[in-house]
Symmetry: C2
Subunit: 360 residues, 2 copies
């Protein structure tokens, strides 16, 4: 069985320590703040005592800017046979570690793709990583045993390992997380000066689009600063497409028919490419998009309506793959969209109608 040192008992470190301890791993906790170690230990995530010998794995879960120095110090101390970290951006770090002359054979970069609204050991949960992707970024120097030890860590945490290079990782998280985050903020920003009556027309589209714009700005400044070059490149590509789109709209607004037709083509192309890109986003389970159709049901606002709806929908024996609740303007009523496999729509609709539900 693995033995481990977890350095840095914040949200991520303590959650990993909890997951490992729950699976019987001997976990030793370290943090500059002795109170944080005591708190993490009191949750059952490990012991504050140092290990007697060399452990198998050191998980460096300190703030990203400190990873390099901490890793170098741990390797000098000879704490573990293998080392990994949990920083959200990997490329710059890999260079820093090289410059610090760390032993890169015994280190592998890691990024568990999970988080929570709160930070610190008290927000930790042993199941934080369950079902999440955990990226590992080996280099040509990485020892196979180091990779395998990290894979064991990922498996013990219940996460799904994804192996890729550091640069590819940073590009990927820039694309699917950092760039969209700033775009959501930019769209939400447009509402700050708008008239109240205009904002009152906001519906589910812009609400879903700007959900992540509600996140903590300081946390995101830190995340973005470590990947600023990549995100700037991605936003420049977006800016070029945006210019094309604005050109298309201006042409559409022209009086000349040929110009208008050209503008419409430009815009249709943007919308079609949007369709194509959207269709690539993985659905649930194994990452392959699946076709679902929505059954739309009108519900009241009483407690118990949703339970009654799911109980009745359950009688069809069909699995509800996703659910979305849309609220009505100025009313207590709403619409629930239940996603089910396309071939099951009629069955679910019939089952619900028989039980008195109003479909929409």
């Amino acid at each position: 069985m693995l033995s481990a040192v977890v350095v840095g008992t914040g949200l991520i470190g303590t959650s990993a320590a909890l997951a490992l301890s729950n699976r019987g791993v001997n976990v030793h906790l370290r943090d500059l703040d002795p109170l944080a170690v005591r708190t993490a230990a009191s949750l059952g995530s490990g012991t504050g005592q140092p290990p007697e010998g060399v452990v198998d794995l050191a998980v460096v879960a300190v703030p990203p800017a400190m990873v390099g120095r901490v890793l170098r110090a741990l390797q000098d101390e000879g704490v573990a046979r293998h080392y990994t970290d949990v920083a959200g951006v990997k490329g710059g770090l890999e260079q820093d570690l090289g410059a610090l002359d760390c032993d890169m054979r015994r280190y592998i970069g890691g990024h568990p793709m999970a988080g929570a609204e709160r930070s610190g050991p008290l927000a930790a949960r042993g199941d934080l990583f369950e079902g999440r992707a955990w990226v590992l970024t080996p280099t040509a120097e990485t020892d196979t045993e180091t990779l395998n030890t990290a894979l064991e860590l990922v498996a013990l945490c219940g996460a799904t390992p994804v192996v890729m290079g550091a640069a590819a990782h940073d590009m990927a998280v820039g694309l699917v997380s950092h760039m969209p985050h700033l775009v959501a903020s930019l769209v939400a920003m447009r509402l700050t000066q708008a008239e109240g009556r205009a904002v009152s027309l906001a519906g589910p589209s812009i609400r879903d689009l700007t959900r992540i714009a509600a996140s903590d700005p300081r946390l995101w400044v830190d995340i973005l600063s470590a990947n600023a070059g990549v995100v700037a490149d991605l936003l420049e590509e977006l800016a070029a497409d945006l210019d094309t789109t604005i050109g298309g709209l201006r042409a559409m607004a022209a009086t000349d028919d040929a110009k208008r037709a050209h503008g419409a083509e430009v815009i249709e192309d943007v919308l079609r490419q949007g369709n194509t890109g959207r269709a690539r986003i993985p659905g649930k389970h194994d990452g392959r998009p699946v076709r679902y159709a929505a059954v739309s049901v009108l519900i009241g606002d009483q407690p118990g309506e949703m339970a009654r709806l799911f109980t009745d929908a359950g009688r069809s024996g069909v699995n509800i793959e996703d659910v979305r609740l849309e609220h009505a303007t100025g009313r207590l009523a709403g619409v629930v969209y239940l996603s089910v496999a396309q071939e099951s729509v009629a069955l679910v609709e019939n089952t619900l109608q028989e039980r008195g539900w109003r479909l929409r």
Copy 2:
């Protein structure tokens, strides 16, 4: 009781006719396509026979480009005492009607903010507008009786009237619907060329952000063409903020400490303004944002899990304000986020834990 002619028996026209007929209004249906009229009439939305005298209200529900000519012809014919339409963009139309010398005292622009994935009379539903905003755009010329008749139509359809000028309406829908739609497409477009492994890291953030990018391109070309100038202006404002953001990120990636600090300030300002704008988006009920907190529950993927969860959550007596289901990567399990009033979080969490649910 009101009498009405509905001209154009597509989705919107037939749905309005159904809503009016359900409330006892005498509805006469007209369409260039006699089959569409027969279909709409067979649904119980009204009669294909012409009215014997002048009706109270004509609802013009033809494609946007045809509204001007149809309205002028109806007014020449003297079909109704008052006229309205349902086109999604109002400013250009108002100018067209003036140029066509329509009687602007007896006309009021309308825009019911509802739709469906399908079109045509067979997709119609009498409850399509229930709880939705229905914008009315009177001018200085509009007769008060015309406004009141339109308000009666909106009330009979179960919608919530919002009165604003045509230009303000077009700006508002540009802001909360048209501009975000193109932005979602532009972000989704960035995924078309990305590596599969990068796209596989896509999580709930980009999934929610790009949901509307899956819509029908042709339909949206039509919508955007009628409001192209307004949307282009909004996107240009966005482009300016985007440039500032790219500049901030480039500064953040610099080696100079002062530059980096300046870049971080620029980005933090964008994120904070995003917070502010996002907070203005109305929650449910009366348009005032309400503070909710999420209870996060781990669930399995068996049919019945959601019913069991809602039944158990219902025992707390607390109203579930919203629900979001997040799927795990490569797993059957998922997390359900239940939004409840902040003061009810502990009660719901205790109720669920007592019944064996794993909170997250």
